[in-house]
Symmetry: C2
Subunit: 111 residues, 2 copies
């Protein structure tokens, strides 16, 4: 059966700033409070996850994470206010796009 597929992301100067993978990672880091734990849950190495965060921060110019080193909890990470703001905008951007595309597809191909 024929299906509509789509992909969207944000770019700055021709470089990908955020796609869905990076957004999920950032949200998960905030939820579990640690890059290490979030990386584990997503089945990626800490190094890889950290690299992702570095890239998105560098490319977007937004500081997404506040990190704490050591302490009783062994360090932690959470979204900055600016990071939350950006992710909120990103969600607002994405909301409804998939449904719109699906609807257009169904109407055009009468499925």
């Amino acid at each position: 059966m024929l299906k509509a597929r789509y992909k969207f992301w944000l770019e700055k100067k021709g470089e990908v700033v955020v796609g869905n993978g990076k957004v999920s990672l950032l949200k998960l880091i905030d939820e579990v409070g640690s890059i290490q734990k979030a990386a584990e849950k997503m089945g990626m190495s800490y190094r890889h996850a950290w690299g992702f965060v570095q890239k998105i921060e560098k490319r977007s110019g937004v500081k997404f994470l506040e990190t704490q080193v050591g302490g009783r909890e062994g360090g932690g990470a959470r979204l900055t206010r600016e990071g939350k703001e950006f992710l909120k905008k990103y969600s607002a951007f994405r909301d409804g796009i998939e449904e719109f595309i699906e609807r257009k597809f169904k109407t055009a191909f009468k499925r």
Copy 2:
């Protein structure tokens, strides 16, 4: 500056049926009346263009082109009625999606 990027295409059984490249090629073939001439205009080899057409026909189950071999004009190709119908549906599907995404992006990021 931050920009929204997107891509959409049709798939069948996990294989890409049509994206924009293939659609442009098919339309051009119909316009100039020849695979060879259309391929030249798009800077691709005849072989490559022919392969594209084969792929899209096989994957979609739609016979897109009618070809004539030889004759005074040295053969030619044009869209079948079924092919035109399919491309019309594809255009109807795509129409307005880009504008919708742009509008959503501008609203979310206030640009």
